[in-house]
């Protein structure tokens, strides 16, 4: 009887989860389907998931030829990598100092970090834009990367993680003759991979998909990130060519989706942060 009850409960659980998953996946599935339809079919009144006439090749070649997809992807990779690396290089020593060193401004810094978490980029966008304009760095990687180089979220995340690291580990490193920088490089970072991985997901996903900031500082197509490129594509080239647009979108979202699927297990580990023991 109990096994029966369990199986009923399981079926119910699975049903709820599947419905949820389907709900979230529906737009993506629809996108994949639309990317393979011809223009006439997209605007036909009937709604079917499987294209009557497979026009994937046609749509993809349109998407690839009309905009420089490789530039977009390259820009995306460069911007995301730069942002991530700089964020890590800034945030890890900062979080280490706040978590493990005693200094007078520690409390003030903590308050500043908390305040920083509360201020969205949209609030500071205009002043930063004006400043970049004066410095004439609009339309450059600098303009795309600089505002995100210090991530208070990263500092906060690493701070929590480092606080859980045993003090004795750092004491041992000091007695072994390591400098503070040496401790960060040789003890903290090698043991912070779960936190770094978790942060990598947040950072890369956020900045790969970001449209708001590139839209403000970039007008030159050469520096366009993938979402911005899509926008140009729609506005200038495709107009109402949804098949090609969906194909382009598919190309742009594919790197993140495959990266996540490949490293799924590690990502989940990173987010749940199985801390270090012993």
């Amino acid at each position: 009887m109990t096994s029966n009850a369990i199986s009923v409960a399981r079926i119910l659980r699975l049903a709820i989860l599947s419905t949820g998953a389907l709900l979230f996946l529906a737009p993506y599935i629809f996108m994949v389907s639309t990317a393979g339809k011809a223009q006439s079919e997209i605007f036909s009144s009937s709604l079917s998931l499987i294209p009557e006439q497979w026009s994937y090749i046609e749509n993809f070649s349109k998407a690839l030829s009309r905009v420089s997809m490789s530039t977009l992807l390259f820009n995306g990779v460069v911007v995301c990598a730069l942002i991530f690396v700089i964020q890590i290089v800034v945030a890890i020593p900062c979080a280490y100092a706040m978590a493990k060193l005693k200094f007078r401004a520690a409390r003030t810094m903590m308050v500043l970090v908390m305040l920083g978490l509360l201020v969205p980029i949209h609030a500071t966008a205009l002043p930063i834009y004006v400043a970049f304009d004066r410095l004439s760095v609009l339309n450059s990687y600098t303009a795309l990367v600089a505002p995100f180089s210090i991530s208070v979220f990263a500092i906060f995340l690493f701070l929590q993680f480092f606080r859980a690291m045993p003090d004795d580990l750092i004491h041992a490193a000091r007695l072994d003759g390591m400098s503070e920088a040496g401790i960060v490089a040789r003890v903290i970072v090698p043991n912070a991979w779960p936190a770094i991985t978790a942060f990598a997901i947040f950072s890369v996903v956020a900045h790969w998909n970001d449209l708001f900031w590139p839209l403000i500082v970039v007008t030159n197509q050469d520096y366009a990130t993938p979402p911005l490129g899509l926008l140009y594509f729609r506005a200038a080239e495709a107009g109402d060519d949804y098949g090609a647009l969906m194909a382009a979108t598919l190309i742009i979202t594919l790197p993140l989706v495959t990266a996540f699927l490949l490293a799924q297990k590690r990502f989940v580990e990173g987010i749940t942060m199985t801390g270090l023991k012993g």
Binding site: D168, A172, R174, G177, M178, P190, N191, G278
Partner: protein
Amino acid sequence: MSVLSLRGITKSYAGNAILKGVSLEAEAGEFIALVGPSGCGKSTLLRIVAGLDHGDTGEIVIGGRSVARMAAADRNVAMVFQSYALYPHLTAGQNIAVPLAMRRLTAAQRLPFVGNVLPGQKQIRTDIQRQVKEMALALKIDHLLDRKPGQMSGGQRQRVALARAMVRRPAVFLMDEPLSNLDANLRVHARGEIVDLHRRAGVPTLYVTHDQSEALSMADRVAVMIGGSLLQLATPKEIYDNPAHIEVARFLGQPKINVLETRTDAAGIVRFGDLVLLAKRGQAPDAPVKLAIRPEFVRFHAAGAGRLTARVERMEFLGSEVIVHARLDAIGEVITAKAAPAEAAALAIGQPVDVEFMAERVMLFDSEGARLQAEPVAIATTLEKIHG
């Protein structure tokens, strides 16, 4: 000349005095156990010696150099932590090699990739590997060198931590309760090993523990710290037989020493049952004093005509001995005796007994807790001497 000397070290956190002027001298090759109840400041003292914490005042001299202003790394001390603090991402062998690599290789030589092609480093690295291997053999952990701390048992980690501390031949060895994370059997075994290693290495050692049996069994000298003060520093035998302070007497010994409050009479003599004690440095007349005696020097006899009688309340059978608790009829205090099982067989709970103290093992302390040297006097002669 002492290799390590601490002079008047004080430390307070937020107005709380943790250390109240601790001074201590360690001779070459000496093993000193710092023992005391938790919160007595012993670990803080160790951290100050290591340079991980800084005292408010006081001086630390290691090997003739004053190190109070030096960074931890420059003091040439090694420490074994309670949690072992092994680097979780390195194998045992790499863990042991860290202190050597940090000292022998230059910053450039330690860089990944670049360091591997710099001249001279290869020789040093093979040398380090050889030393790690030797150390591992000495501690019988050579088969573990490729394992990470997470794959080792507590006892194995403790050995790796010891190896990491010993490998660079420090001037002073500091250990912060290194055995407290081991199970009881392993702990006794590891005690002997640490003492052996210390003998062979000959490095002066400060060993912090809250376990009195560890302190008494391992150390050349035991330093008892209570409430931020070092109350006594002496050999284990001296500190057990001849405590300088009532707190020292109370802290050491299992079961606890019996302490009875009493007073000196008008002539400055303490009388308690059959006992007559005369404090050597003329104790003030009619003053409160504490009379203390260890349970092994107390005997209970089946009721007779003694002056001090008690009633047995509780008996704990421990195999080789029996701990007997009895309440004194006169003052209602419980005193404890350690008896051989054969002796205890004659006793039963609720039974009235005569209490006998071994007079020469009774100690007197004044109301502040300081030791009063006292001398038992036979009743007849005392009375003659005092009154006659």
